[in-house]
């Protein structure tokens, strides 16, 4: 959590990480989801929305490589009403839009709070990029890095900023492990070595009961509790 950024130049929303809205209310918690293409970021976002939408005021910002694909997936799946999903256009560089120049994403989260707020939680999904893409602390309060077993069981060993420093590492598609010859035990050990005490969740979203995302949901709830404290 990065709650120690309390800038206040003039009370207006000039500064990104300020925990309060211009009207003095606490803004929504922002959680970033990053990770390589195809690892299941959008599916995880969709599952989180389904699990949390009845109890929390939620919205999603997507950062697509080609404009609106992920946003349109979420719209098709109807995980949230359309006015709660915003796509940021990234000029073919999604990592720039979540890390180096976060201005478009900040406008998007602020507009969501203005238009459909007050909100409890905004999920900011990165476009599928590479292992080095991480979110700026000016944009999100916590970040989840999503990898999958089919991408190779050596990803945790290779490390990289996402795997090493994300507040939560999600290893997705565990149901595929036997089929792709990935060793989950080895992935867990490598992740532990890279991340020390930082948490790791192994999940499969194909579970019959639709509850495959429950560990991530529990982690998100902890973040919300800490944010509201």
């Amino acid at each position: 959590m990065h709650l120690d950024h309390h800038h206040s130049h003039d009370g207006a929303a000039a500064v990104s990480a300020d925990a309060h809205r211009p009207d003095g209310r606490r803004r929504a918690l922002r959680i970033g989801l990053g990770g390589p293409v195809g690892s299941g970021k959008t599916a995880t976002v969709a599952a989180l929305c389904r699990a949390l939408r009845d109890e929390l005021a939620l919205a999603v910002v997507t950062n697509d490589i080609y404009t609106r694909e992920d946003a349109e997936f979420l719209l098709r799946e109807a995980v949230l009403p359309p006015e709660r999903i915003t796509a940021v256009e990234t000029g073919a560089c999604p990592h720039t839009a979540i890390r180096d120049d976060i201005s478009a994403n900040l406008e998007a989260v602020e507009d969501l709070e203005d238009e459909v707020g007050p909100l409890d939680l905004i999920l900011v999904e990165s476009g599928g990029d590479n292992l080095t893409a991480t979110f700026s602390k000016g944009l999100v309060d916590a970040q989840i890095f999503v990898i999958d077993v089919a991408g190779g069981d050596d990803i945790p060993r290779k490390g990289g900023p996402g795997v090493t420093t994300a507040d939560l590492l999600v290893v997705n598609k565990t149901d595929l492990a036997p089929h792709v010859g990935s060793d989950l035990g080895r992935m867990a050990a490598d992740a532990k070595a890279q991340r020390a005490e930082l948490p790791v969740v192994f999940q499969s979203l194909r579970a019959e009961d639709g509850d495959g995302v429950k560990d991530v949901v529990a982690w998100v709830r902890e973040q919300l509790t800490a944010w509201a404290a």
């Binding site: 130049h9 000039a14 500064v15 404009t67 256009e89 000029g91 720039t96 839009a97 120049d101 201005s103």
Partner: protein, 224 residues
């Protein structure tokens, strides 16, 4: 005043959203009007003497202290394409955020309050230059450079153009950048006495038409 502040403001990595915009290059590439370094150069030259000149004069005018609300109205009248007006205001809003965080200033605060969803980017640029202790000429230089550097770096991504070729295009345009920046500042000085109507209104029909075509695409890499 610090001259180096100009480098901070003009840096392509200044976090003000420019990286997601192609300055019309994506539409021109798709239409087959930009196919390589030669046509990129002609594209940039045309953009420089039209949009670039107008933006630079608006920025210089704002830096000289002309009424930003009037300048914003002048920018609207010079931008018939709603897609381009939206892009200019988006970028203005993003630049406003970056500028206020970097060079806090009551003038920027006032403009942000007047236009919560963003004023035209060149107007914000001129006030940001003022807040950074820079002058009208500096603001004009930032604007003319942006008018060509945006399409050049976008074309590197769109066509996998050799980045050295793209940089060569920019280098060859520099004498014209000097000329247009001077022209913009002169016009802005005239507008100080003669009103914003005296500012240039050079237009580029294909940038306007291309922006409307681009805005209607379902799949694109750049926001404009």
């Amino acid at each position: 005043m610090s001259r180096a502040a100009l480098l901070v403001l003009a840096d392509g990595r200044f976090p003000a959203g420019g990286h997601a915009h192609s300055g019309g290059a994506e539409a021109a590439v798709k239409a087959g009007r930009i196919t390589g370094a030669g046509s990129l150069e002609e594209f940039c030259r045309g953009r420089l003497h039209t949009t670039g000149l107008v933006s630079a004069s608006l920025a210089a005018g704002a830096a000289l202290g002309l009424d930003p609300v009037e300048l914003d109205g002048a920018a609207d009248a010079r931008t018939p394409s709603p897609a381009l007006r939206v892009a200019a205001r988006k970028l203005g809003r993003q630049l406003m955020r970056a500028a206020r965080a970097t060079w806090p200033s009551p003038e920027l605060d006032a403009l942000a309050q007047e236009f919560p969803k963003g004023a035209h980017q060149p107007v914000v640029l001129g006030l940001a230059a003022r807040a950074a202790g820079l002058g009208a000429e500096d603001a004009a230089y930032c604007a003319v450079y942006e008018s060509v550097s945006g399409p050049a770096s976008a074309t590197v991504r769109l066509l996998s153009l050799d980045p050295f070729d793209a940089t060569g295009v920019l280098a060859r345009l520099t004498p014209e950048l000097d000329r247009v920046a001077r022209q913009a500042v002169e016009a802005a000085r005239c507008a100080v006495g003669g009103g914003v109507a005296a500012l240039p209104a050079a237009s580029a029909p294909l940038l306007e038409i291309g922006a409307e075509a681009h805005a209607a695409w379902a799949v694109r890499l750049f926001a404009s």
